[in-house]
């Protein structure tokens, strides 16, 4: 486990993160995803190809990665990462990369990693931009210190806004992989306590620092979250208010 990484999601972020990790010499990679490859994924999910359409993404990713890097061992978890399995899954790895595409999973990943005391490299991409931050083991600060709750139905990015330009997750995912490799080697994380924002339109990268939130629900002074309850992580319906 000492040099292992779990990647949540085998899609637009997970594929480049896995590639970057393997290229950096990380040999023990786990990936969790219950989805299958769709033709519409191929422009950004770089480890899947047309012959993979219809098969599990974790199997496609593992096959592509092990073909390119024969010494890498990929452990596939063909299941949905959720409140029921998150703490045990992240606890089995040294570092976690969040390559999920929805708010519910991002909050599950954060809270599970804080509770299991595993560092988390968070990434997100939508439209023309992306975000990165690293949560140290145990948090302080964590993703929830910055964003206290997921958006309710209808007020997050709308369906029509939620597409993504293909190269954006490629950039974000590759940076996540590099950050996870740094963490495994005991080097200083580049994104801890910083939210890095990448904008592909203006080609700008900006970072804002953020502090531990003393009232954080999972890593604050009096946390209310001590275990994961599925009822706390319901993905808001895609109900745009500005269609």
């Amino acid at each position: 486990m000492s040099e292992s990484v779990l990647i949540i999601g085998a899609g637009g972020l997970g594929c480049p993160a896995a590639f970057a990790l393997a290229a950096a010499g990380v040999l023990d990679i786990g990936v969790v995803d219950d989805d299958v490859v769709d033709a519409t994924n191929l422009h950004r999910q770089i480890l899947h190809g047309e012959p993979d359409v219809g098969i599990l993404k974790v199997e496609s990713l593992a096959h592509a990665l092990e073909r390119r890097f024969p010494r890498v061992r990929v452990t596939t978890h063909a299941t949905r990462f959720d409140a029921s399995n998150a703490v045990s899954l992240v606890g089995a790895y040294a570092v976690v990369v969040d390559g999920s595409d929805n708010f519910a999973t991002k909050f599950v990943a954060n809270d599970a990693c804080v509770l299991a005391r595993r560092p988390l490299v968070h990434g997100a991409a939508v439209g023309l931009g992306g975000q990165l931050l690293t949560v140290p083991a145990g948090g302080k600060p964590c993703y929830r210190c910055l964003f206290e709750e997921p958006p309710p139905a209808g007020v997050g990015p709308s369906c029509s806004e939620a597409g993504v330009l293909g190269p954006v997750p490629g950039v974000v995912g590759a940076l996540q992989g590099a950050e996870a490799a740094r963490l495994l080697r005991g080097q200083n994380p580049a994104f801890a306590g910083r939210l890095v924002q990448y904008d592909s339109l203006g080609m700008t990268v900006r970072a804002v620092r953020f502090n531990p939130n003393p009232t954080c629900a999972v890593c604050g002074a009096a946390p209310r979250i001590h275990a994961l309850d599925a009822a706390d992580y319901v993905e808001p319906a895609c109900a745009p208010i500005h269609a």
Binding site: A125, E149, G156, P157, Q197
Partner: protein, 91 residues
């Protein structure tokens, strides 16, 4: 006038502009004043009670306003205000 940096998910409400300017003695007044030129923007930043939504953060010159005076944080003409929402998506 203070400069407000608009994140990519909200630029549909600012005609694609990455930066806009507005006047206001506080962050709250500034957001209120934005509404006239950019209808719908305030609704994406603040909830029905007027508080900043819990998946949005506002930084005044790179300082999180939750640790300053919240929406009452004073604003000067030379200040840069960044609106930073949580994002997910990209299916």
């Amino acid at each position: 006038m203070a400069t407000i940096r608009i994140p990519t998910p909200l630029r549909k409400l600012t005609q694609g502009k990455e930066e806009i300017t507005a006047t206001g003695a506080t962050v709250g007044a500034l957001i209120q004043n934005l509404e006239a030129g950019y209808p719908g923007l305030k609704e994406r930043i603040c909830d029905d009670s007027g508080q900043v939504r819990k998946f949005v953060n506002i930084f005044a010159n790179d300082e999180d306003i939750r640790f300053l005076k919240g929406l009452d944080t004073p604003v000067k003409d030379s200040d840069e205000i960044s609106i930073v929402p949580a994002i997910a998506g990209g299916r």
